[in-house]
Amino acid sequence: MENFSYSRPATLKEATAQLGKEHGKIAIMAGGTDIYGGEMKDNLLAPERLVHIKHLKELQGIRQGTGSLRIGASTLLSDIVESPVVQKQAPLLAMAAGKIGTLQIRNMGTLGGNLCQRPRCWYYRNNYPCYKHGGNACFSAIGENDQHAILLGGPSFIVHPSDSAPALVALGASARIVSGTGERTVPLDKFFVTPRENVRRENVLLPNEILAEIDVPNAPAGSKAIYVKEMVREVWDFALCSVAAMVTLKDGVVQDARIVLGGVAPVPYRAVKAEAALKGKTLDEASATAAGLAAVDGARPLSKNAYKIPLTQAVVKRALLSLA
């Protein structure tokens, strides 16, 4: 790892003031599990300066908003998993955050960092000159691609690694983003960008912006939700495929459904066709199976990841049936 200078600003304002105009040179560190423990140790990135935002009081904690929870970006993942209010008002988020890495990782990583973490593609992590590193190829397209995208892939075929993201998108959360010159709020499903929109980055953040807070609307009354994650190992692993599913039922009939997939697309993938397939239906084996099929409609597998199609179908179906 290249050495760097380090700053621990006292306020958010001070922090944004230190940020630069391009990605990389001056970098934000929260828990550091990805930027320091991954990108810098693996020499993918060598920032001159790290701005450490984990200790900023303004970015910490879980607050009641009106009809929502406001979670500071630097809140530790384990605090989210264990928070009684999160468990009550947004149980889907608690479930998903509980599936991240291991206890130690959740004790170190933050929610903001989890949403902004970089892809786990082997070629990216091995420093191949791919799109993400400013090159003009995606090596997975004709290489080892069993973990890559079956939906929305191209020109890069990474999958978004975050477990909290599908849950937050399903919950309709939004991101409050702060820079030296002001702030903006972006719905989370607009926060993530596909490679076609920006092949180098995975979200809309500009180099001088900090993700300050996530606003998480309370789960609708009468709704039920579940996060299911399929991995090679039982733990300490990224998703081969995951689903955040939330349904609102009335007399067994689906009033509203949110189905967001992880591990299969470069962004948390909102399976709108599956949602539509469910609406107005009784939640049962037939409708859940149909939703599973609809979820992967349009999937285009690469040479080694076709298994993700039946896997995703099964996971969506089972997640839904568990809510019936």
Binding site: F4, T102, Q104
Partner: protein
């Protein structure tokens, strides 16, 4: 500082540490144990000469230290190389094995990936902080009794994770115990004996 100077300095520090005066020695220029009241909640300070080094104060196993390290230094390296607490092991340096597990402010973390600058102002507990003199901590006793290890390289981490579990949940079920230790690989795969050790540790700790 020229490299050779730094080298002399580190050699003299090593020699000094060998003398075992770790907790009291006021001789070292880079390692100044502090009084108990100091050291808490302090941000690191950049070293005057080099912005890429920091002065860090922290408490380890109840003893306060001040060290001056490059910003690249991890907490594991600080513990092992600066404080010579080598019970904490490094098996991967990437949050992927758990051998380096220690507690920072009461939470279990992978010290290989905690930047030392992040640990400034914290209280750290390592494997060396468990036994009281020659009396083993009940968790250690349980690991001895059940041979909860083979080569022992993962053991410090397994024990620190067991402590983190029992601190919050003194009477875990076997499944809770497996879950709580699932962030610690044992390559020798002594998992069955480790599980037995954790369950006995829970019993001994409550006794």
């Amino acid at each position: 500082m020229a490299n050779d100077d730094r080298e002399k300095l580190s050699v003299s520090r090593r020699a000094f540490l060998k003398g075992g005066a770790l907790a009291t020695g006021a001789l070292s220029s880079t390692l100044i144990p502090l009084g108990p009241a100091e050291g808490a909640d302090r941000a690191p300070e950049a070293t005057d000469l080099d912005p890429r080094r920091s002065k860090i104060e922290l408490k380890v196993n109840g003893v306060a230290y001040r060290v001056d390290v490059p910003n690249t230094t991890t907490l594991a390296t600080l513990l092992r190389e600066e404080l010579h607490l080598t019970g904490t092991k490094v098996g991967c340096d990437r949050m992927q094995c758990g051998a380096c597990t220690v507690h920072v402010n009461g939470r279990s973390v992978y010290s290989c990936t905690v930047p030392a600058v992040d640990a400034a102002g914290t209280e750290v507990l390592t494997i060396e902080g468990l036994a009281k003199g020659d009396t083993l901590h009940p968790i250690q006793q349980a690991f001895v009794e059940h041979s909860g290890f083979q080569c022992g390289f993962c053991t410090s981490g397994q024990i620190m994770s067991t402590k983190a579990l029992l601190d919050r949940n003194p009477q875990p079920t076997e499944d809770e115990a497996r879950q709580a230790l699932s962030g610690n690989l044992c390559r020798c795969s002594a998992y069955k004996k480790i599980l037995e050790s954790v369950m006995t540790a829970s019993r001994l700790s409550r006794a």
